[in-house]
């Protein structure tokens, strides 16, 4: 896709342009961000969606963060036991969690929910299908 071509240009080479003073220890230079070209996300795999969307708030290790309010940790999170709850949250949002239903396809929602439910100390093997996400939108 055209957006991927753009994404690949903005990679490790560029990091080298930055003066050392602005470097950050936690940076993973190998990670190349993906950029969508419109309102909807182009990332397709659960891993890609997590790394380009979810980790903005839930953080790269899914441990969440706290300021005046908090983003919950998704590590070994029992709320993920019921797949329909996770699907509902991604599609419709709740409180600080934005609704992603309009920005992701059924397949993308299923992919990221399945990724979360099998990573970060979660091991729920009953995978969600795109059809189930479609049902949840109604």
């Amino acid at each position: 896709m055209q957006t991927r071509l753009i994404a690949q240009k903005a990679g490790a080479v560029l990091i080298a342009l930055l003066p050392a003073a602005t470097g950050f220890a936690q940076d993973n230079i190998a990670t190349r961000p993906t950029f969508s070209s419109g309102y909807r996300f182009v990332e397709m795999t659960g891993e890609e969606i997590f790394a380009n969307v979810c980790q903005g708030c839930h953080m790269p290790d899914a441990s969440g963060a706290a300021g005046a309010g908090a983003y919950p940790s998704l590590i070994a999170n029992r709320n993920l036991a019921t797949s329909s709850y996770a699907v509902h949250l991604v599609v419709n949002g709740r409180r600080g969690m934005p609704a992603f239903g309009d920005m992701m396809t059924d397949g993308q929602v299923a992919a990221v929910v399945n990724y979360l439910r099998t990573h970060f100390g979660n091991s729920y093997t009953d995978a969600v299908t795109a059809t189930e996400v479609r049902e949840a939108r109604r």
């Binding site: 903005a10 342009l17 602005t22 940076d27 950029f35 903005g56 600080g96």
Partner: protein
């Protein structure tokens, strides 16, 4: 649309009223007919009646909270404010050299901008019709200067059109007007508008199209010195024996349409972006600082609210000092004005009815990212004659905004190298580290300004979902959510009323925060003096 006849009739009425009753009656008549009134702001607040020593606890020292504090103290209330940050202003915020901040996740950035250079990570422009905010700026002595929304010499850029070359706004605007005018003139002359437009009006329409679209005597939009006055020259006019000016070649209608750069033209047409726009001299936080000069003595900083309780006698707010969070502290008052963003308030236990609670829980917060970049020189001015304004692009950075001050100076300058608001890219940039965001802004920006790589020095990147005191940029209402919840959000619930941009019809604008606050304290005061 208003018909000309109706306007003339009204105007006649006004001159009659003006002649007979004088200008005061005239103003009243115009206001009631909807002409002179542009803002819900009715001038400085007058809270009449004795609050009889009533106390108010305000949560949040942003513009909404400090507006309430300023007006309520003046009206005789006992006022205290709890603020999460160690500074006043909230999203009214400016980053300068030496400032540092830590985003959620722990990345600390220290701004390395040169003296006098800054970016406004939050609000950065003030429309002329935001009368309340402008009035507070005047009363608090905040100096303003123009914010340039439309610079004809900035760029519109589409990565897959015009071989990736950025186009001057001037040329795209002229060509769009010119090509549309030529097309409309053609169908007019072919008689295809005969049913819709009278013969007499068609003659006037043709004149208007020639004038507005820079058409030639045959109603064609061509390369000539007439169209060059609109879109610019291939060779600029000079003096003496210098070569004579040459016109530039317009872009074809098809190329224009397919480039889709026309979509950016609305950024200069919409009410909230029309000239004149303003910015405070020296940074947007001059407004927050001016408010804090008035009410700073009422603010307790580093106070993180953990619970909001009320009963029929008063309000008790639990909080911790963020520098010593082990002890829970309490603040009490008769009334509470809560300006805490809903992204945070929805996580705090609060004694309100189910309808207000549902409203608090219903509003998501927009993702937004701003990236400031310092360069060794103001190459956009020196090389490209771009003085202020904004270039728009379909690249993920979306915008490059040029400083609207310090024009034509030697030395360093700071660009806003990216401004993303809502949409996929805002999330993608938020998910990166600050260093990655800056690197991406440089990579994309250099497709518009190749000087980037040579001239870059340092940058800062603020992703609003990672800002600890808001967890997002602003309330992102849907039409459905607003219809269902907005009124419940704004009602006084017992002794608690909410205020802030999220409780306004101007979300994400400072004016919305202030109007919301004035409306809330007006209703609250009415209740207080009645009881």
């Amino acid at each position: 649309m208003q018909s000309e006849a109706a306007v003339i009739r009204r105007r006649d009425l006004f001159s009659l009223i003006g002649a007979m009753a004088g200008s005061a009656a005239m103003y009243h008549a115009m206001t009631s007919l909807g002409f002179a009134s542009e803002s819900p702001y009715k001038g400085p607040m007058r809270l009449e009646g004795d609050p009889k020593g009533a106390s108010v606890l305000i949560l949040g020292a942003g513009l909404a909270g400090m507006t309430a504090a300023l007006e309520l103290r003046k009206a005789g209330y006992k006022v205290q404010i709890l603020e999460f940050n160690n500074r006043a202003g909230g999203r009214n915020w400016t980053l300068r050299g030496g400032d540092s901040f830590v985003e959620l996740g722990g990345h600390k950035q220290t701004c390395e901008f040169d003296h006098g250079l800054y970016i406004n990570p939050g609000p950065w422009r003030i429309p002329y019709h935001h009368r309340a905010l402008l009035d507070y700026c005047r009363r608090l002595g905040v100096a303003l200067e123009p914010f340039i929304q439309l610079n004809h010499n900035a760029y519109l850029h589409a990565s897959r059109a015009f071989d990736g070359q950025p186009q001057k706004i001037r040329a795209i605007k002229a060509d769009f007007q010119g090509q549309v005018s030529e097309l409309l003139a053609k169908v007019t002359q072919q008689g295809k508008l005969d049913e819709a437009v009278s013969k007499e009006d068609q003659e006037i329409l043709l004149q208007a199209l020639r004038s507005w679209g820079a058409l030639d005597s045959d109603y064609r939009y061509n390369a000539n010195l007439g169209s060059a006055e609109f879109r610019g020259y291939a060779r600029e006019p000079g003096g003496g024996l210098s070569p004579e000016p040459l016109p530039s070649d317009p872009v074809s209608l098809s190329d224009l349409l397919r480039s889709r750069v026309w979509r950016y033209l609305q950024s200069f047409a919409r009410y909230n972006f029309q000239t004149t726009m303003f910015q405070p001299v020296g940074g947007m936080d001059m407004i927050g600082k001016a408010f804090a000069k008035e009410v700073g003595d009422l603010i307790r900083y580093n106070a993180k609210v953990t619970q909001i309780q009320q009963n029929d006698r008063g309000v008790t707010v639990s909080y911790v000092d963020t520098t010593n969070p082990s002890t829970t502290l309490h603040a009490k008052a008769d009334w509470c004005i809560c300006t805490i963003p809903l992204s945070i308030l929805s996580q705090i236990p609060i004694d309100v009815g189910s309808r207000m609670q549902a409203a608090i829980d219903a509003v998501a917060y927009a993702g937004a990212v701003k990236i400031g970049l310092q360069f060794k020189r103001r190459f956009w001015e020196e090389d490209e004659a771009i003085y202020g304004g904004i270039s728009y692009t379909d690249l993920p950075i979306r915008q490059i905004a040029y400083p609207n001050n310090g024009f034509n100076r030697a030395g360093r300058g700071v660009l806003l190298g990216a401004y993303l608001f809502e949409g996929a890219n805002a999330y993608e940039f938020t998910a990166m580290t600050p260093t990655e965001r800056i690197a991406s802004a440089l990579e994309f920006g250099s497709m518009i300004h190749p000087q980037y790589k040579q001239e870059f020095e340092n940058g800062v990147a603020v992703a609003w979902h990672r800002v600890p005191f808001t967890l997002g940029c602003s309330g992102e209402w849907t039409d459905e959510g607003r219809a269902k919840h907005y009124r419940h959000l704004c009602q006084i619930d017992g002794r608690i009323v909410l205020a802030g941009e999220h409780a306004s019809d101007l979300p994400a604008w400072q004016e919305g925060a202030i109007l919301s606050s004035l409306d809330a304290i007006g209703r609250l005061h009415e209740r207080v003096v009645k009881t």
